[in-house]
């Protein structure tokens, strides 16, 4: 019972991180209809930047978080203005290929800069455990969960209360109507990429106390992020977070009760099977009439 409870907590924690990353991935798909494969880089960059800020500059984790978020917003903005803007009229295939190539360029550049050795970001949160019934939950997990939820709440407030957030949503629903209503669609595109990069960065930042910080961090999380987005339905925001939670729970359960060597395999196969039966996500079965 204690093990099950602990594994559920672990699953939810890692699932929230997948959910945050998947939210960024799905947001670009909703707004532009493209899959942004370079999204996995933002996870790596987020993790490395927070490591650098916390360890090298001795800034506490809580204060480092806004710095990293701002940095990632800037990164996404620059990327859109420099590269992705040029390919706005390209087909989905071309955009995917550009983002994949960009992803190799960025990850190998990171490898050249930071080196292949893994780094550990420990003692970020107090290492106490809180006992709830038979389950003793690490304080680490609670902090990560709370921070993730806080970011989601901020995002929700941004999208529902601010004018810019509303215009972003309209532009992603229907760009031509949005431009007729005076929304600068180019700016919303840049903002979309900035926000998605920030979401990936936050995911990387939150995963860094759990896993060791390596170059492969992004690519190891990338596929699970994609599967979370597919399970929730590409373009569905709530679905992405719920999909992330499902993937996280499946992964930890599979690792505990079936086989830790095959845990990734189980998640991937489950993802493909879900795609077979619910192509538009588990929340929506029919999208187009045929």
């Amino acid at each position: 019972m204690g093990l099950l409870g602990l594994q559920i907590v672990n699953g939810i924690t890692i699932g929230m991180i997948y959910g945050l990353a998947a939210l960024g991935f799905t947001m670009v798909f909703k707004a532009l209809g493209y899959l942004n494969f370079s999204h996995s880089n933002t996870i790596t960059i987020g993790a490395f930047v927070i490591y650098t800020v916390v360890i090298s500059c001795n800034i506490p984790f809580i204060l480092a978080m806004p710095i990293v978020t701002l940095f990632m917003l800037f990164y996404g903005f620059v990327l859109e203005k420099v590269l992705f803007k040029r390919f706005r009229n390209a087909s989905a295939l071309t955009f995917m290929l550009v983002s994949i190539s960009l992803s190799t360029v960025v990850s190998n550049t990171c490898l050249l800069i930071f080196g292949p050795q893994p780094r550990a970001l420990t003692n970020v949160f107090p290492s106490t455990r809180i006992a709830i019934g038979p389950v003793s939950i690490p304080f680490n997990n609670i902090c990560i969960f709370v921070i993730a939820v806080a970011f989601l709440v901020i995002l929700q407030l941004f999208f529902s209360k601010t004018k810019f957030g509303l215009s972003l949503r309209l532009a992603s629903e229907d760009p031509s109507t949005a431009s007729l209503m005076g929304i600068k669609v180019f700016n919303t595109r840049a903002a979309t990429f900035a926000i998605t990069a920030a979401l990936g960065g936050i995911a990387g930042m939150l995963v860094s106390p759990l896993y060791s910080v390596t170059i492969e961090l992004g690519s190891s999380l990338a596929l699970k992020t994609f599967i979370s987005a597919v399970v929730g339905g590409l373009g569905n925001f709530i679905g992405a977070v719920v999909g992330g939670l499902l993937v996280g729970l499946t992964e930890t359960m599979a690792a505990t009760y079936i086989s830790s060597a095959y845990k990734d395999l189980i998640v991937y196969v489950a993802g493909i099977v879900i795609l077979a039966f619910f192509p538009y996500g588990i929340f929506r079965r029919v999208k187009t009439k045929h």
Partner: protein
């Protein structure tokens, strides 16, 4: 003059062949050359599915891995002949491709296949790594012997080079036949517009699956050739990175033609060797080349062939205008001018 025009193609081919035979006495060239030929076979598969049917396929080296491991296991454990393992490996790779295509290709747009094939590459990696009883896990399979046919022994690099070249030519001719007949037309119609293809009664799902199965079984063939060449197989050789390199080759050469795939494979295999760069720099180089190709030559290097310098310049400047927003600015200027004159 007329003679040159008429037979120019054949003269170029003969010169190329002579050059290749001359170079084939250089063992370093032959080693890289075999690599390039095997890559070219696999890349042609990508051209069929991603170029002709426009479904992005990101797991080609996983299917190569299936082919290579099938052949190696059959040869080392069951003692089967190399030539017999070729059809077996192709069928098994194709079967995996068929199973994978059932849930994926019923969906429109190439996006889902990209996600699923990438995931599939990782699935195959985990399986190869953990099924130690069959694949020897991380230790890999070694001692794969080169094939013989009658008195000819393909153990040396040079004979193997010509074997690969012969197989490449056979595959090329076969695929050329496939894309020239009804199938190829159906693939192209799917590329241009899936809705339109459906409206004239083409079963798009079926033909997308056909394209994918062809692509994956060719990858199996390339994998079979890869085994005896390297002599050692490990799961790392068939992970995400080689798949990506194969796709890059297809794009740089030209995603929409088989010749483009071959040219891209040869170019991108030899280029990093010439620069003797490290692994990271090589991947960065690949990425930058691909982005530049997509930006300036969306149809790859083959689109330059048979064009005058003037036409090429025009093509490039049109692409540059599109990329640097000049067309947009010009439109704005025109609108402004129209308004001014209206007032």
């Amino acid at each position: 003059m007329n003679m040159i025009k008429k037979y120019g193609k054949y003269i170029v081919m003969v010169i190329l062949l002579a050059l290749v035979i001359y170079l084939s006495f250089n063992s370093y060239f032959v080693f890289v050359g075999i690599n390039a030929l095997i890559n070219a076979i696999a890349v042609m598969g990508i051209v069929i599915i991603s170029g002709y049917a426009k479904q992005l396929h990101l797991g080609q080296s996983a299917f190569m891995g299936i082919g290579a491991y099938t052949s190696a296991i059959l040869m080392t454990k069951a003692g089967l002949n190399f030539w017999l393992t070729i059809p077996v490996a192709m069928v098994i790779s194709g079967l995996f491709g068929w199973v994978l295509s059932i849930p994926t290709l019923k969906l429109k747009g190439g996006s889902y296949l990209a996600l699923v094939t990438q995931t599939f590459g990782e699935i195959i990696y985990v399986l190869l790594l953990n099924m130690v009883w069959l694949t020897n896990g991380p230790f890999g399979i070694s001692g794969i012997k080169a094939p013989t046919i009658g008195p000819i022994d393909f153990t040396g690099l040079q004979p193997y080079f010509f074997l690969c070249m012969a197989i490449l030519i056979i595959v090329y001719i076969a695929l050329k036949r496939i894309v020239k007949v009804k199938f190829g037309r159906f693939f192209i119609s799917i590329r241009e517009s899936e809705e339109a293809a459906q409206s004239i009664g083409i079963n798009t799902r079926k033909y997308k699956m056909v394209a994918f199965v062809i692509a994956t079984s060719i990858a199996g063939l390339a994998g079979v050739l890869y085994g005896p060449f390297i002599g050692y197989l490990s799961p790392e050789q068939f992970r995400w990175q080689p798949s990506l390199i194969l796709v890059s080759m297809a794009i740089v050469g030209g995603l929409y033609s088989l010749e483009g795939g071959i040219i891209g494979a040869i170019l991108l295999t030899f280029l990093p060797e010439l620069l003797r760069s490290t692994d990271q720099l090589r991947m960065i180089l690949y990425g930058v080349i691909v982005i530049l190709t997509l930006a300036f030559l969306p149809d790859g290097i083959v689109s330059l062939f048979g064009k005058k310098p003037k036409e090429i310049k025009k093509m490039l400047s049109a692409q540059w205008d599109m990329l640097s927003d000049k067309t947009l600015r010009r439109k704005k200027k025109k609108i402004k001018a129209a308004r001014m004159s209206g007032k």
